[in-house]
């Protein structure tokens, strides 16, 4: 009797996550996969085959766009890490009590505003008639208006800004758990700031670094709004390409294949990153 009730409770608790997984992750992917392996050979005539996947590799624009997206995302991840680490270290190790909570909250507050609004904020700053351009003209640094939008640097700024929170939070958590006496012991044994960072702080923070990097990389790779708005029409972001196939060209078959390739290739990049840094996914997720 007791075991029956507890089993019922177990299934009730499991139900939402199962529904979520099946309805929103597995089912759409099965659908996508079915669509992606059908080739259009005539009006309303379809055949099963992998031509859509082949198109990705034979048409240089497609895979170059993907490579560009992946490389820019990796770069954005690296930049986010470089910017986020000192912030996280400062919050976790050099502040305590109220200051810590306030700083942490200040990192979060921008994320209460929709991503669209935040991106428009960047546009107001960077556009030809925007704040930066006007300030530069007022200071006499430049003679005419400067366009700072619609280039790769603008995309990069937007990506780093959107994802930095997802780097800072896991890093603060792992750095918080680093005992101060370990750092002191490092100094006491003759270590310098650099060697302590390299031998004590970074190895300890590795799970946080890895999980932060995975999340930021995935977010950047799958980001649509930021590259399109800040990079303009020529941003050539892979998600933009999927959108074009589905909406502009009504080529759901190729779009589905792209969607699948994005999943497969991003998983591959994460796998490669884990192998190169010598971390395992279960260990990383379990510890942080």
């Amino acid at each position: 009797m007791v075991s029956d009730t507890s089993r019922l409770g177990f299934y009730l608790l499991l139900a939402p996550i199962l529904l979520w997984l099946v309805l929103l992750i597995i089912l759409p992917h099965v659908g996508l996969f079915v669509v992606s392996i059908s080739e259009k050979i005539g009006p309303r005539e379809y055949e099963t085959g992998f031509d859509n996947y082949a198109a990705f590799f034979t048409e240089p624009l497609y895979w170059r766009t993907f490579a560009r997206t992946a490389i820019m995302s990796i770069l954005a991840t690296a930049l986010t890490l470089i910017l986020g680490f000192p912030i996280a270290y400062y919050i976790a190790k050099l502040t305590r009590g109220r200051t810590k909570t306030t700083l942490f909250l200040m990192c979060m507050i921008p994320f209460w505003v929709s991503e669209l609004v935040r991106t428009f904020g960047w546009m107001i700053l960077l556009r030809e008639t925007g704040v930066f351009s006007n300030v530069l003209q007022y200071l006499g640094v430049v003679s005419g208006p400067v366009e700072m939008l619609y280039n790769d640097a603008a995309i990069m700024v937007g990506l780093v800004y959107t994802s930095i929170l997802f780097m800072v939070v896991p890093l603060v958590t792992t750095l918080d758990s680093l005992d101060d006496s370990l750092i002191e012991a490092g100094y006491d044994l003759g270590g310098t700031s650099t060697s302590i960072l390299r031998e004590i702080v970074i190895p300890h923070a590795m799970p946080g670094i890895v999980s932060g990097c995975i999340v930021v990389f995935m977010l950047s790779l799958g980001n649509y709004l930021t590259p399109i708005l800040l990079g303009g029409k020529d941003s050539l972001w892979f998600t933009g390409m999927i959108y074009t196939q589905f909406i502009t060209r009504f080529n759901w078959e190729l779009g589905s294949a792209f969607g699948f390739l994005l999943l497969a290739l991003s998983s591959f990049v994460v796998f490669l990153g884990l192998k190169l840094s010598g971390q395992s996914l279960s260990e990383t997720m379990g510890r942080s």
């Binding site: 002191e184 012991a185 100094y187 006491d188 044994l189 003759g190 031998e199």
Partner: protein, 371 residues
């Protein structure tokens, strides 16, 4: 001539002169001066919050003193960062690096000095052997027991051959049996390495067992510096008498004085005679009298002449093996802890039994109140 004298006097490894540390308005360490000769085991004993950790952190270099001087092997350490000082510290929770194996932990300091890899390996092997843990280099930190971690932490410091080794209550986290064992081991390691140890603790038995010299610290000041024997048997202040070892404390008023003989009456009305060289006492002043449980004997005295004899009843018996005590209530109602002789006599004492207590006036300690 003077120069020759200076050369023959061995220089102490560590000298602190008027060392002071203020935190805002709070003075954590208040004009502390002491020196520790080479190769000795020096303990700083005090209750929590007495400033001993601050003092140790100043020696290690994690905190800079507000005033005074600190010299190691004759060189002033003021303004020298912790990684440039010839001292090493064993932390309270040892602070072994969990991301490294034992060999890398012990070799950390040598790597920082740029010692060649092959030499690091041999020196790490040697020092691990000296602490009795040969061949553990490849193991992870969490594969060692508490006592083994302790020895690794000491090895990690000793491999750097520091002039002074600082230890911040490293035995606190161990269970009782292991702690007793490590006390002996720590002392023998210190003798084997012949390095100066500065050990801070709130546990008097650790300090008494291991040290060559003990400084008893309270409220940021040193109350007394002396050998364990002196600190236990000749405490120089009321705080030391009460903090080190067990003692019955009686507050009493001086009613008569004749040389070193002082006659007192406690607040409960018990009369007693104490022999004390203590100055500052006068007829009519209040004093605190400390009586160790082991100086009070039970049963009629052979020679009552000059002894403090009291009749009382047993209030409770606290059996604790060789450290068994009884609480005796005298006719005024005040309680007194009395150690039972280790011969097993009086083993049959029960609550309510009538007993006679007596103690020698020379064995009591007496301090003016407010000293």
């Amino acid at each position: 001539m003077l120069r020759g004298d200076l050369l023959t006097v061995p220089q102490p490894d560590l000298v602190c002169q008027d060392l002071t540390k203020d935190f805002d308005s709070f003075r954590a360490v208040d004009h502390v001066s002491f020196d520790v000769p080479q190769g000795s085991f020096f303990s700083i004993l005090g209750p929590s919050g007495c400033g001993k950790t601050t003092l140790l952190r100043m020696i290690a270099g994690f905190q800079s003193p507000t005033g005074g001087d600190l010299r190691i092997k004759g060189k002033s350490m003021i303004g020298v960062p912790p990684n440039k000082r010839p001292v090493s510290m064993v932390f309270q929770h040892l602070a072994l690096f969990p991301t490294m194996n034992i060999g890398d932990n012990v070799g950390f300091g040598l790597r920082q000095r740029g010692v060649a890899k092959a030499e690091i390996k041999t020196r790490v092997g040697e020092v691990l052997e000296r602490v009795g843990l040969p061949g553990v280099s490849a193991r992870r930190v969490d594969q060692l027991s508490g006592g083994q971690k302790q020895r690794v932490a000491i090895a990690r410091c000793m491999v750097l051959e520091p002039d002074v080794l600082l230890l911040d209550e490293p035995l606190g986290a161990l269970d009782l049996k292991l702690r007793e064992h490590m006390k002996v081991e720590m002392k023998s390691l210190q003798a084997a390495f012949n390095t100066t140890f500065v050990y801070i603790t709130h546990d008097q038995s650790e300090a008494l067992v291991m040290s060559d010299n003990i400084a008893v610290m309270n409220n940021g000041r040193f109350e007394q510096i002396g050998t364990p024997h002196e600190v236990y048997h000749a405490p120089s202040t009321a705080f030391v008498a009460g903090f080190v070892g067990e003692a019955n404390k009686v507050t009493a008023k001086v009613s008569a004085m004749r040389g070193q003989h002082v006659k007192l009456i406690s607040d409960a009305g018990t009369e007693m005679i104490v022999d004390t060289p203590q100055t500052g006492l006068d007829v009519g002043t209040w004093a605190e009298v400390f009586l160790r449980p082991e100086i009070i004997a039970l049963g009629p005295a052979n020679d009552d002449e000059g002894m403090n004899v009291q009749l009382g009843t047993v209030e409770s018996v606290l059996f604790n093996g060789a450290n068994s005590t009884v609480t005796v209530k005298d006719k005024t109602g005040s309680l007194m802890n009395v150690a039972l002789p280790q011969t097993g006599a009086f083993a049959n004492l029960r609550k309510g039994d009538a007993v006679v207590t007596h103690w020698d006036p020379r064995h009591a300690r007496c301090y003016p109140v407010g000293s």
